[in-house]
């Protein structure tokens, strides 16, 4: 919307330039040119204060470091100096960072397809004409999304710990030897399961909403042509809501790169999660445990750039397919 306002102002200005204007008219024109910027002002101020300034400050910090003299005790023993690319090199060459990135990629490969397929399945089932108790089902699938990740991680953490979990008690009674979900081999699935539980509902609602926007004539026509429910779902519904699928996939990818609350909450319960399990935990450790905001800033910038690059690349690849028919 802001873009349109700007464009119309520019057009108006351009049209006025060639004509010789009286001073009074020119003044009025200048005033008119200021008005849209006044309207933009609140947005610009909020953006600068809460987005641009912190980003610039983070960028500044990422090129700084503290240097300590001697024992480093007492005032004046610590000073902040320009670090060049040292912080970036430090985090890029830290094997713990590379390991955390690798872990998150694997985690995304497990989580995203599972989550989107389940969300799509639920959305299609809810949209199906024969579905009963639609409102109840929709709310109960969506509800976990309303539970904060820390709370859900605690809840699942209790269920994962063999010593306190009712499930493990049942397994025990049945005489089954089920390995702990928090053992090193399974902990990634344990975390993916929490994210899945919380995320399916949100993605389902997005898909379901765009399914609702499809005019019912299309389905009627398809039914008359003899298409079954499954065929309608596969050949009509899924292609039509492709933009929603792309958007949920993109959101899920970004959320995956930023996984933090779940492993952070589960960490004290197990030996299987290191303090640098995910990239954001790596940033957190540097900033708040090691008290090194400089390296943490550099790593944050790297993660932000990677997120941009991945989102951009993903959109380039799928955009034409997904949005092709819209333009």
């Amino acid at each position: 919307m802001t873009a349109t306002v700007e464009r119309s102002v520019k057009q108006r200005r351009a049209s006025q330039r060639p004509a010789a204007l009286s001073p009074a008219k020119r003044k009025a024109a200048r005033k008119r040119a200021v008005v849209p910027y006044m309207m933009l002002l609140p947005g610009i101020v909020l953006f600068v204060v809460f987005m641009a300034a912190p980003i610039v400050y983070t960028l500044y910090l990422s090129f700084q470091k503290t240097v300590v003299k001697g024992l480093g005790l007492g005032s004046g023993a610590r000073s902040q100096v320009f670090a060049g690319l040292d912080n970036y090199i430090a985090s890029l060459t830290d094997p713990a960072f590379a390991a955390s990135v690798g872990r998150v990629l694997l985690y995304g490969l497990i989580l995203i397809p599972t989550m989107l397929v389940l969300a799509l399945l639920f959305a299609l089932l809810l949209d199906s004409r024969r579905t009963r108790a639609r409102g109840f089902s929709r709310v109960s699938i969506f509800l976990p999304y309303a539970v904060p990740a820390v709370i859900s991680s605690l809840l699942w953490g209790f269920l994962y710990l063999p010593g306190v979990s009712p499930f493990y008690w049942i397994f025990d009674q049945l005489g089954w030897d089920v390995p702990s979900m928090l053992s090193p081999g399974l902990v990634m699935f344990a975390i993916a399961n929490i994210a899945l539980w919380g995320g399916v509902g949100f993605n389902m609602i997005v898909m379901y909403t765009s399914l609702k926007a499809v005019p019912s004539e299309i389905y009627e026509a398809a039914t008359i042509d003899g298409a079954s429910e499954v065929q309608i779902a596969l050949r009509i519904k899924i292609p039509i809501i492709a933009p929603a699928l792309v958007m949920t996939a993109l959101f899920s990818m970004i959320a995956t790169l930023q996984v933090f609350a779940e492993p952070m909450t589960l960490r004290p319960l197990t030996n299987s999660l290191s303090t640098t399990w995910s990239p954001l935990m790596f940033v957190y450790r540097d900033a708040f445990i090691r008290d090194d905001v400089y390296t943490a800033s550099a790593t944050s910038i790297l993660i932000a750039l990677a997120t941009f690059a991945i989102s951009f690349f993903f959109l380039r690849v799928v955009q034409r397919r997904a949005f092709g028919q819209e333009d």
Binding site: R32, V35, M38, T66, V67, V68, K69, G70, L71, G72, L73, G74, S75, G76, A77, R78, A90, G157, F158, L161, P162, G163, V164, S183, P184, P268, L269, T270, N271, S272, L273, S274, T275, T276, R285, F288, I289, R290, D291, V293
Partner: protein, 438 residues
């Protein structure tokens, strides 16, 4: 439309002007009242439970120095918050509850003030030498006033020990035998667990074995984690974990709590504040536990380590350092205050004489053991010196990561590798920061 916009703009400007004048007005009246009245208001970040009740006693007696306790989540978050406030240049409290291992970090970040000149210097004889050393860092400065200490103790389920015919271990060899005996008798039971989550616990055990992870030699730091005492402790626990007679799960998890309650955790190498943890996590087992000195490496020369303990420090942003020191001195040395600390917050006071008179009755959870505080006093006496460095946080997070891997692998050799890794990470970090290191 334009006319309406202009009216809107005028209204906005008027509102903005009103807000601005409003601000100035309050600011003026604020500074005015401050100069006419000499009342000092101090803020105190602390996490000890019920500390505000002890502070209330002070506030009633000292109307001119009013202290407000801002309850913190715990030792680590409070320090993180303080360091952030120091970096920001404002927002720090006047006083902070600081664990001993945090003091070098705080001094290095110029977050806490040297209060030797404000009367704290005279308190040296009030506290045990080892404790006093950790607030002075062996220098002429005084960076905090000790509040409590955490000499380590061994807690065990007396009923299960009697039932299985196990005698209370006095040496670590006996502890290992007891662990084997208990686990063999009932494979679901463990005498203890090796917790990769609690760096402070492992530090205490290493301190008992004679370790001091940092040292100051003239103008240079030394890092001595990967040395004989710590290696001995790591190898010992690694061996027990490898044998499977000691659990490898972290402490302070719902599972561990359940274990304390249902008797699958038969013992705990904790510290003097243990009764609070046990009564909170395993209330049903009251009266079944007993406390003993921590097992020793050499029965003929007993030694001990500290797990926890904290002090009261004055921050560099405080404008009322003298008043803050006056309050902190009262809080940690005055007999009435120390008595209140014991009853309200359940700490083990650092001040030697005040502690002796305040600690007469065993904690309720150990009412079956009237001599509880005699055992504790014995434990406190043999605590050795330990020097903390300016990057304890780095060493502790390295402990979490490296020993988690070792505990999970259940190999004694991995425990030794973890000690080496801790040494390397800690030393590399100090070198990278520019500290002079030996």
């Amino acid at each position: 439309m334009r006319a309406r916009l202009r009216i809107g703009a005028i209204a906005t400007a008027a509102a903005a002007a009103l807000i601005m004048t409003g601000c100035t007005a309050t600011a003026d009246s604020g500074s005015g009242s401050g100069s006419s009245d000499e009342k000092v208001e101090l803020t105190y970040w602390a996490w000890a439970p019920n500390l505000d009740k002890v502070v209330d006693i002070w506030n009633k007696a000292n109307p001119n120095i009013q202290v407000t306790v801002a309850k913190q989540d715990g030792g680590d978050p409070a320090i993180t918050k303080l360091l952030t406030a120091i970096k920001a240049g404002s927002g720090a409290p006047d006083l902070i509850q600081a664990e001993y291992q945090k003091i070098p970090t705080l001094v290095s970040a110029d977050a806490i003030a040297d209060i030797a000149g404000d009367g704290a210097k005279d308190l040296s004889s009030t506290f045990p030498d080892g404790v006093w050393n950790s607030v002075t860092l062996g220098s002429d400065a005084v960076y905090a006033i000790p509040q409590d200490t955490g000499p380590m103790m061994f807690f065990y389920r007396d009923d299960i020990f009697q039932q299985l015919g196990v005698s209370v271990p006095t040496t670590w060899d006996e502890y290992a035998d007891a662990a084997r005996k208990i686990h063999t008798a009932d494979p679901t039971k463990f005498l203890g667990t090796f917790s990769a989550n609690d760096a402070g616990w492992f530090t205490g055990l290493s301190q008992q074995a004679g370790a001091s992870w940092w040292s100051i030699d003239g103008d240079a730091w030394g890092v001595d984690i990967d040395a004989e005492p710590t290696q001995k402790v790591a190898e010992y626990w690694g061996g027990l974990v490898e044998e499977g007679v000691i659990d490898n799960k972290p402490m302070y998890t719902p599972e561990w709590n359940a274990g304390l309650n249902d008797g699958s955790q038969v013992g705990w190498t904790g510290a003097v504040w243990g009764p609070g943890v046990l009564s909170g996590n395993a209330a049903d087992t009251a009266g079944k536990w007993k406390a003993a000195p921590l097992p020793n490496w050499d029965a003929s020369s007993p030694s001990n380590g500290n797990w926890g303990g904290s002090s009261t420090a004055v921050t560099t942003q405080s404008k009322h350092a003298a008043a803050a020191v006056e309050f902190a001195t009262w809080l940690n040395t005055d007999p009435a205050a120390v008595q209140a600390l014991v009853t309200e917050t359940g700490i083990y006071p650092a001040a030697t004489d005040a502690a002796a008179s305040a600690l007469t009755e065993a904690p309720a959870f150990f009412s079956n053991q009237p001599d509880f505080y005699d055992v504790a006093a014995e434990a406190a006496q043999s605590v050795g010196d330990f020097t903390y460095g300016p990057n304890v946080n780095v060493a502790f997070s390295a402990y979490n990561d490296e020993f988690a891997k070792a505990a999970e692998s259940k190999q004694a050799s991995a425990f030794l590798e973890a000690v080496t890794a801790m040494q390397k990470i800690t030393l590399d970090d100090m070198k990278a920061s520019g500290f002079t290191v030996k």
